[in-house]
């Protein structure tokens, strides 16, 4: 008998190594991103030091680059977006899972999917021509926040829906058996169970809102140095500045823009990681008991 075990073994091991290499590309790409971009941000950080993060003066001809206003703008518009999106997303998720007649569920899920897939540039186009011009909302933190809210609602809704659906039926039925109305059942059984997952979903939406470039760039107003709590004022965000000023930037200016990108990267990663940890923990807990 010919012993084929050796050859087969080689093929099997080879496959394992190929799969491993594929998985490792994630590490390679991330490592490269971190390395190349940090390397190119060094010039401006050497020049500005910590002032890069604390100063809001951004004057390219003078080599003064302070990103505080853009960091503020990114966080502010993302917060506005979340404030608008969370009640709406929760409402939709609860409706789909608890209150909707069965024939309505699938079309609504499709609707959320379609909203998720509309390209951000089309939202930006609509926002710039229709929302800000036609309806006279102008370009401001608020307009940007509204567009971002529309864009993150699908993410929050889908994730919240997943978490809510893991609520044990026994809990829900117990509440109903005790005479609770639908809303009371939701408050008593669904929400406490899903709280963690919903928080995680919201933070993922926050992360996405912070990283959105094009839609924000078209409607945020592109003001420099604007740190104000007034949502009707024009502002700016880190990705919008990068997209807008890259074309004409000289070496130092480019370094500043890359430093902005790194800052944005770090902030969104922190938010995303915290969110994922919270979601995973709550899902694990719910499945366990």
């Amino acid at each position: 008998m010919i012993d084929l075990r050796g050859k087969v073994q080689h093929a099997d091991t080879a496959f394992r190594w190929i799969a491993l290499a594929a998985a490792a590309t994630v590490l390679v790409v991330l490592g490269l991103i971190a390395f190349t971009m940090t390397d190119r941000s060094l010039p401006v950080l050497e020049r500005m030091g910590l002032r890069f993060f604390t100063s809001s003066r951004w004057s390219a001809p003078e080599g003064e680059f302070g990103a505080a206003a853009f960091i503020f703008g990114t966080l502010y518009t993302a917060t506005i977006a979340v404030v608008i999106a969370v009640p709406v997303s929760l409402g939709v998720a609860l409706f789909i899972t608890q209150a909707a007649p069965p024939w309505l569920k699938k079309p609504m899920v499709y609707m959320i999917d379609l909203l998720a897939v509309v390209p951000s540039v089309v939202f930006g186009l609509w926002g710039a021509f229709v929302l800000s011009q036609h309806f006279g909302l102008g370009r401001s933190f608020l307009t940007a926040g509204i567009i971002l809210a529309i864009m993150i609602i699908p993410i929050i809704t889908s994730l919240a829906r997943e978490v809510i659906e893991t609520t044990p039926n026994t809990d829900k039925e117990a509440a109903l058996a005790l005479g609770a109305t639908r809303w009371e059942m939701i408050r008593a059984a669904v929400l406490p169970h899903s709280k963690g997952g919903i928080v995680g979903a919201v933070m993922l939406g926050l992360g996405r809102a912070m990283g959105e470039t094009i839609a924000a760039a078209l409607v945020i107003g592109s003001a420099l140095g604007q740190i104000s709590a007034n949502p009707f004022k024009p502002g700016n965000s880190m990705p919008a500045v990068i997209a807008n000023e890259w074309g004409e930037a000289d070496e130092l200016h480019k370094s500043a823009l890359i430093a902005l990108a790194v800052t944005l990267f770090v902030i969104t990663i922190v938010v995303n990681l915290a969110a994922t940890a919270i979601v995973q923990r709550s899902m694990r807990r719910s499945r366990g008991g």
Binding site: A223, G247, E248, A249
Partner: protein, 361 residues
């Protein structure tokens, strides 16, 4: 197992995607719009594509010139992707493009980093930057110091005494001024601010650059078109827009006081007049801003295209030289239609001489 059901569907989906890609590959002749007659020659050396980037200021010129040039030299494709003067200079220095156009020359430090060796500046267009506005004022007149103070938010109302001084006898409304500038980095911004630096006798404090530190209570638009859009839709707005986009948007623009004390509107004649009074250096660098001459429009900007002195590719080099020569000779006739002005004849001759110096293998 689901394999026997899914496989046909999978094949169908892939086939559909493949078909759409294949259908998309069918190239069609581009629609012939407008057009010069003239003999069509095929590009010597065969079909060639030239990639370029750079100043959006001259994008319109590049577009019409490309269209016209392709008719007389079929087989040459030119992709001018704009992206800004800074991008153009960077791409040219990194040799990522075949040529680039810029509204401002390299800074000395950056010029040293150009990888391809010696290169030439070939000027090819002059254009007016208008000060467009949206207010109930007929034939607005503005001087540079007033302009500087407006754009710095020191003057906030249309009936300010400084504006009244520039417009004796005119009735000015009491509305607020809304300043509009560029959100994206721009050679137009650079030239506009450079003009304010030169001509406002110290009133302008924000220095000059592709982006400057505008006050937070101003508005910003993306591209000339973006600024024009905002000015058009905001009462009391004032912004700097190139003549082409200002005219396309139907915006009124101001007459600006030039060095000789005359208030001049940005007409084609006035732009050319600005070109007549310039001092040109040997490498063809000059500035048309704040030009001398009674009829000169003071906010006239210039733009160059960059070409390497030693070309490495024969086909591309030949095509480049032919295109550049076209830009500064016959191509100049296309400028008035798109609201730009040709460079003065003396400068054209110098430009052609410079192009002739380019060596092709």
């Amino acid at each position: 197992m689901a394999t026997h059901i899914t496989t046909p569907w999978l094949i169908a989906t892939m086939a559909a995607l493949g078909l759409t890609t294949a259908c998309g590959k069918k190239p069609e002749e581009s629609k012939a719009t407008g057009g010069s007659g003239g003999t069509t020659t095929t590009t010597p050396g065969g079909p060639v594509t030239l990639n370029a980037s750079g100043a959006t200021f001259q994008k319109a010129f590049q577009e019409v010139a490309t269209e016209a040039f392709t008719k007389i030299s079929s087989g040459t494709k030119i992709n001018y992707s704009g992206g800004g003067s800074g991008k153009g200079r960077q791409d040219f220095a990194d040799q990522v493009v075949d040529f680039a156009c810029t509204d401002a020359p390299y800074k000395d430090a950056d010029a040293a980093k150009v990888k391809g060796g010696e290169f030439f500046y070939i000027p090819n267009v002059l254009g007016a930057i208008t000060v467009s506005y949206h207010a109930d004022v007929d034939k607005l007149q503005l001087s540079a110091p007033t302009l500087a103070k407006i754009f710095q938010r020191e003057i906030k109302k249309w009936n300010d005494p400084a504006i009244a001084a520039d417009n004796p006898g005119a009735k000015l409304p009491a509305t607020d001024i809304v300043v509009v500038h560029r959100s994206d980095g721009s050679g137009t911004t650079e030239n506009f601010t450079k003009y304010l630096d030169l001509a406002s006798a110290g009133a302008w404090k924000l220095k000059s650059g592709s982006t400057v530190e505008w006050s937070p209570d101003t508005q910003a638009g993306n591209g000339n078109g973006g600024v024009a859009q905002i000015v058009k839709s905001t009462a009391g707005a004032i912004g700097y827009v190139d003549l082409s986009d200002a005219k396309a948007s139907g915006l009124p623009y101001a007459a600006i006081k030039n060095q000789n004390g005359k208030y001049v509107e940005p007409t084609a004649a006035a732009t050319s007049a600005a070109g007549d009074g310039i001092e040109v250096k040997d490498n063809l660098i000059f500035s048309a801003l704040d030009a001398k001459g009674d009829a000169a429009y003071p906010i006239t900007a210039q733009s160059w295209c960059l070409i390497y002195a030693k070309q490495t590719d024969k086909t591309k080099g030949t095509a480049l030289k032919a295109y550049f020569r076209y830009l500064v000779t016959d191509g100049q006739k296309l400028l008035p239609e798109i609201d730009f002005a040709p460079i003065p004849n003396s400068l054209q001759d110098k430009a052609v001489a410079q192009i002739d110096k380019v060596q092709v293998p």
